[in-house]
């Protein structure tokens, strides 16, 4: 069955093409459009499930090997065929790796006596210029990583498609929406199923394009149009790094096929922290790309603005799938990242910084979707943190659980917005649990999951991330990362409790007349424009004028639309996702529960750690598939027996297992409690506790005493302002980049309009002047001469010819007769002459 995975990306593409090309032309009904879109994705999902079952458990199961559709001719075409590549990069690293290997072999072959006697191992290797034929094929790859992503993309995507048929009901661009969504599914599936870097790049750009199209779906709103451009441009910066990294990969390995690249890459020497070797540079380029796509710290600004798109888009693209493409890429290239301790540290620090940064912003936002957006940025930070400390599988595990609960919460928010008649400001919600029971109950599951309450899915992955940060031997400073992650987790629990409390609990604030202030800009704006308040909410938030608090708003006609529960097509996906968000974490039950007799990773291949193990490179053994999975290799690595008295080349090689990492936080604690299991439980309880603290604070502030938020906002005014204004990053970028770019553009424009145009215009003026001179010469001299001569001749000859024209018919006849006689005379002259009388 896994031979047919090429159908998985194709089906959504066909659906999108049918909807996009014919949906408007033939005026498809909403049922038809929705049926085509949902049907194609559902079919893709079923094929994915069947393919993955046959890949992992079927009679011809391929697991743990990578299956590429070109290997048995199932699907392949030569996409960019044949091109010679001179491999200019990586010679030095390859040489040293070769030396290491030879030295190792030679050393291992020695007897102990020889080792004592002559520790120096002499080996030789030479750099030979290498080249290869770059042949980029279009084929799909099925391995543990792409299997997980296929399930997330098609499964969660299916829920969101169904939800969107309800949410987008009545929208004029229904067909357009589903065409874009289908195209997105195709691109995303190409991204995660492609068998080489170039295909990943195609998918990468494809999802970027679809993201742009869907953020700007309401393109008549200035806000949405700006947000889509911002997302596109910010992503370009990341894509630039990604493209450079792909070029570097091709220049180094001479191929773009994952299997070939990684087989070569695993032989390279490891670059320790602080060194910037080839692998570090490649990893840096890749990570810049990941930062752009996954909204990591310097490039995170586009994601919150992307909430201008329809809510299903936010759920699918900006929470569940596209933004996790960076994680996919980092995990896919974990060989390269693990070869560069420097980049592992960079990834960890960027992830941790993003996690805490976005979490603190999320606390003060009032737009329900903005809170979720910052939450997404923060959670992505968590995932990168996991990858950085070497727990790639746990990062992907968190991608999966996050896809469940964040898609759920976005769809819940969409349901709320739908039920509230396009109100997004939480200050005008409250008490919705009475009106929207299903949305409320499902949202609770998402809330508990993201807070990390056992046994909801978020708990398992987040706990594992924090534990791996504390116990990592991949990078130094793991304890700081653990601390930051813990604080960010507390913030997460707090702002999510705040969101739930403000939306579903407490007073029904939408019943109150607008009180003024920023929350009621819409009403004030409606007053100015003479609209009803309901229409005003549909208008762009960015277009609204600024009003003083209380200005106008008291007088606006206020009639209440009571919220209502969403239709069944929206509730069913919520329920499905709620179930997943609740139990989805059990595929990754951690080793802390091994006392139950389940073993380290219960569930066999169904456990995500065991399942994905084969694609993770083990720095100790230099092979794929670490014995431990995740970052747990670390503790074991520290005890690995090194070959004694290694020669210099050997030393370089052995340092590759990050041997210089200091004692980790987990080791310190373990040293204190003398029990490995107890240590793990200690960390687990800690992470549960911080979640409890966050929730408790949230309840205290937003349920128990609702005056507290204002009081504390006043007390911590600078901090509150910083968080509320998102640390002024947008303003800073506006000043440092946008303004500078505009200045530079103006300067270039001035140069163009003054200097370049001046030269061109000057030349034109010169040409005009010379042509005027030549024209004058022609007109007055040449024409004058011609006219004078012509006039002279005509004046001279005209009386003669005029005289010939008498106007009498007989004159003309005479001329004719004379002419005739002349002609006859000439023609028959010899005969005539013979008959003429002889004069002599």
């Amino acid at each position: 069955m896994y031979r047919y995975i090429w159908l998985v990306p194709l089906l959504p593409l066909i659906g999108a093409a049918v909807n996009g090309f014919f949906g408007r032309k033939f005026r498809f009904s909403e049922q038809l459009i929705g049926g085509i879109a949902v049907g194609s994705v559902a079919l893709a999902f079923l094929i994915s499930v069947a393919a993955i079952i046959s890949y992992g458990w079927g009679s011809h199961a391929q697991w743990p090997n990578t299956y590429v559709t070109s290997q048995d001719g199932a699907f392949k075409f030569d996409w960019i065929p044949g091109g010679a590549v001179l491999q200019t990069q990586g010679d030095e690293a390859r040489l040293s790796a070769e030396l290491d290997k030879k030295a190792r072999e030679k050393f291992a072959a020695m007897t102990p006596e020889e080792r004592q006697k002559n520790p120096a191992v002499l080996v030789g290797a030479a750099i030979t210029p290498r080249s290869s034929v770059l042949n980029v094929e279009w084929s799909y790859q099925l391995d543990p990583l792409s299997a997980v992503f296929m399930l997330i993309v098609t499964g969660v995507g299916l829920c969101i498609f169904v939800f969107a048929t309800g949410y987008m009901h009545g929208d004029a661009g229904f067909y357009r929406f589903f065409a874009y969504m289908g195209l997105f599914m195709f691109s995303m599936l190409v991204l995660v199923m492609g068998s080489n870097f170039v295909m990943m790049f195609v998918g990468w750009e494809g999802v970027g394009l679809c993201s742009y199209l869907l953020i700007g779906y309401y393109f008549d709103r200035q806000e949405a149009a700006n947000a889509s451009r911002k997302a596109f441009i910010t992503n370009r910066i990341g894509d630039f790094g990604f493209a450079l990294a792909i070029f570097a990969v091709i220049a180094t390995f001479g191929t773009a096929q994952y299997t070939d690249v990684f087989a070569q890459a695993k032989e390279f020497p490891i670059e320790l922290v602080g060194t910037w070797g080839l692998m570090s540079w490649i990893a840096l380029g890749l990570f810049v790309g990941a930062c752009g796509k996954s909204a990591q710290l310097p490039l995170h600004v586009w994601l919150p603005d992307a909430m201008a798109g329809p809510t299903p888009v936010s759920a699918l693209i900006h929470a569940a799938t596209m933004v996790t493409a960076g994680l996919y890429m980092v995990t896919r290239t974990n060989v390269i990242f693990q070869h560069s301790q420097t980049m592992l540290l960079v990834v960890t620090l960027v992830g941790a910084a993003t996690a805490i940064f976005a979490a603190t912003i999320g606390i003060t936002q009032n737009d329900i979707k903005k809170v979720l957006a910052y939450s997404t940025v923060s959670q992505l930070g968590f995932m990168f943190m996991a990858c950085g400390v070497g727990a790639f599988v746990i990062g992907i595990f968190h991608v999966m659980t996050h896809a469940f609960f964040k898609a759920l919460m976005f769809l819940g928010a969409g349901s709320v917005i739908h039920g509230m008649h396009h109100e997004q400001d939480m200050r005008r919600m409250g008490g919705l649990k009475k009106y929207m029971p299903y949305t409320y109950l499902t949202f609770l599951a998402g809330w508990l999951a993201i807070c990390g309450i056992i046994p909801f899915s978020g708990f398992w992955s987040k706990d594992e991330i924090l534990w791996n940060a504390a116990s990592t031997t991949h990078i130094p400073l793991g304890w700081i990362v653990w601390l930051i992650g813990t604080i960010a987790a507390t913030c997460t629990a707090f702002y999510m409790t705040r969101l739930v409390a403000m939306t579903f609990w407490g007073k029904e604030r939408f019943l109150e007349p607008p009180a003024g202030g920023e929350a009621d800009e819409a009403y004030a704006s409606a007053y100015d424009k003479g609209l009803s308040s309901h229409d005003a909410k549909l208008a762009s938030a960015g277009d609204r004028p600024r009003h003083e608090p209380g200005e106008h708003v008291g007088r606006v006609d206020h009639h209440v639309h009571l919220p209502h529960e969403s239709p069944r097509s929206m509730v069913i996906p919520l329920v499905v996702l709620a179930v997943l968000a609740t139990i989805g974490g059990f595929v990754g039950v951690g080793p802390a529960f091994r006392f139950m007799g389940w073993g380290e990773h219960p569930g066999g291949k169904l456990n995500i750690v065991t399942w994905m193990n084969p694609i993770i490179w083990n720095p100790t053994t230099h092979e794929f598939g670490s014995a431990e999975g995740g970052g747990h290799a670390g503790t074991e690595v520290a005890h690995t027996e090194l070959v004694p008295a290694p020669p210099e080349a050997l030393e370089r090689s052995e340092a590759g297992v990050y041997g210089n990492v200091h004692t980790t936080l987990a080791q310190s604690v373990e040293h204190g409690v003398h029990n490995e299991l107890a240590t793990e439980w200690l960390f687990m309880v800690t992470s549960l506790m911080v979640a409890g603290i966050g929730i408790g604070l949230g309840l205290l502030f937003y349920v128990k005493d609702t005056r507290l938020p204002d009081i504390w906002a006043q007390r911590l005014r600078p901090l509150y302002q910083a968080s509320y204004n998102k640390y002024w990053v947008d303003e800073f970028y506006g000043w440092a980049i946008t303004r500078r770019t505009m200045d530079a553009a103006r300067a270039v424009y001035a140069f163009d309009s003054k200097v370049v145009d001046g030269i061109v215009n000057g030349l034109a003026a010169l040409g005009r002047l010379s042509s005027r001179i030549v024209g004058g010469f022609d007109k007055y001299f040449v024409d004058g001469l011609v006219n004078t001569i012509a006039a002279f001749i005509i004046r001279l000859m005209s009386p003669l010819f005029r005289a010939a024209q008498t106007g009498f018919t007989q004159n003309y006849a005479l001329v004719m007769v004379l002419g005739l006689m002349l002609a006859v005379a000439l023609l028959f002259w010899p005969d005539i002459a013979a008959h003429l009388p002889k004069t002599k």
Binding site: Q805, T806, G807, F808, T809, Q810, A813, V817
Partner: protein, 134 residues
């Protein structure tokens, strides 16, 4: 005038040779040259009339003379060819009939023009009509 005289001389050249019998025979069964001479005379008279007369009706009549000169030639050659036994012996007669038809049509149109001209100009004297010079 001298041309007319020389043609007359050509006509009676044979007769001036003296023998009356031959002259009678020549009149009774004239050969081709005599018809041609007559035709040429007719033609010349017609041309002279066209070129010299001022009355447009007379000019018209002169044109008819020219046409008839041509007809005479056709007939003469037709007769000549009959004597020689040629296949195309009757072509000349057919042509003559054609010419007569054309002449009739021309006469109808020409007289119409004359009438129209007179109505406009109150004259049929061609030296008073110089419309060709505008």
């Amino acid at each position: 005038m001298s041309i007319l005289l020389s043609l007359a001389v050509l006509l009676f050249q044979e007769a001036s040779d003296g023998r009356v019998a031959q002259m009678i025979k020549g009149v009774r069964s004239p050969d081709l040259s005599k018809f041609l001479v007559i035709g040429a005379l007719l033609f010349i008279i017609g041309v002279a009339g066209v070129l010299t007369r001022r009355n447009i009706i007379v000019i018209f009549m002169s044109i008819e003379l020219i046409l008839n000169a041509a007809n005479l030639n056709f007939i003469a050659f037709s007769r000549y060819l009959q004597e020689t036994g040629s296949v195309n012996a009757y072509a000349g007669q057919v042509f003559a009939v054609f010419v007569i038809v054309v002449a009739a049509a021309e006469a109808a149109i020409g007289l119409g023009i004359v009438i129209a001209l007179y109505r406009n100009k109150e004259t049929i004297w061609v030296d008073e009509i110089d419309l060709l010079k505008w």
